[in-house]
């Protein structure tokens, strides 16, 4: 069975540019979350989407935005890139819904974003 897939795997950008990262959840999963992982640290929550609506947002600036499509795939957009945005961006999907409570989140292998 296919797990969470993310694209691209690696990306190099320069300061001030914009980037779009993509995520396809596990089949049947309607909840998608995005995390940022800086080297040597645990992942930090950015967004959660369920049924195409934003359900949660972490402490990230408005330069970060996301959306979820009818097929439950998702995109993370980051504008006006800064050197500090260099990180591994992880997408996770789960079976969680409003009626189920927390369910395990399953992660993709991430997009490694480097800002020059």
């Amino acid at each position: 069975d296919a797990g969470v897939t993310q694209s691209p795997t690696h990306l190099i950008k320069t300061r001030g540019q914009q980037v779009t990262l993509r995520c396809s959840p596990i089949s049947g999963h309607k909840s998608v979350s995005w995390y940022q992982q800086v080297l040597g640290q645990g992942p930090q929550f950015i967004f959660q989407y369920y049924e195409k609506e934003e359900r949660g947002r972490g402490n990230f600036p408005d330069r970060f935005s996301a959306r979820q499509f009818p097929n439950y795939s998702s995109e993370l957009n980051v504008n006006a890139l800064l050197l500090g945005d260099s990180a591994l961006y992880l997408c996770a999907s789960s079976l969680a819904s409003l009626g189920t409570g927390n369910q395990p989140q399953h992660f993709g292998d991430g997009t490694r974003l480097s800002i020059l």
Binding site: S33, S94, G101, N102, P104, F107
Partner: protein, 117 residues
């Protein structure tokens, strides 16, 4: 604020030994906990989870213990193998709040487990 931390940043064991990785959390409202394994160049891999209405849960070669009194979580790995070498993260989640912010995981810094053959 919320935080999840680990007591030991590194753990080195011999193949065949049992490993114990510890985690402290500070949010008393947390009711769901997960352990992840992350290998170099990969995303976190789900190992086992536990809800706050349980004290112990067992999987294949792994056991998670939850002590809500002292807000402590541990992962026990039996008969540790070289393939278990990785960074291990604990993560916690708070209850639903009207359908908002559910599923937000707060991760600790991680423990590096090294298994020597």
């Amino acid at each position: 604020g919320e935080s999840v931390g680990l007591h030991l940043p590194t753990l080195s064991v011999q193949e065949g030994d049992n490993s114990i990785i510890n985690c402290a959390y500070s949010n008393s409202a947390s009711d769901y906990f997960i352990w992840y394994k992350q290998e170099s160049g990969k995303g976190p891999q789900f190992i086992i989870d536990i809800r706050s209405n349980m004290d112990k849960r067992q999987g294949q070669r792994v056991t998670v213990l939850l002590n809500k009194t002292v807000k402590h979580l541990s992962l026990q790995i039996a008969a540790t193998q070289p393939g278990d070498s990785a960074v291990y993260f604990c993560a916690e989640s708070s209850p639903y709040a009207g359908g908002t912010s559910y599923g937000k995981l707060t991760f600790g810094q991680g423990t590096i487990l090294t298994v020597h053959p």
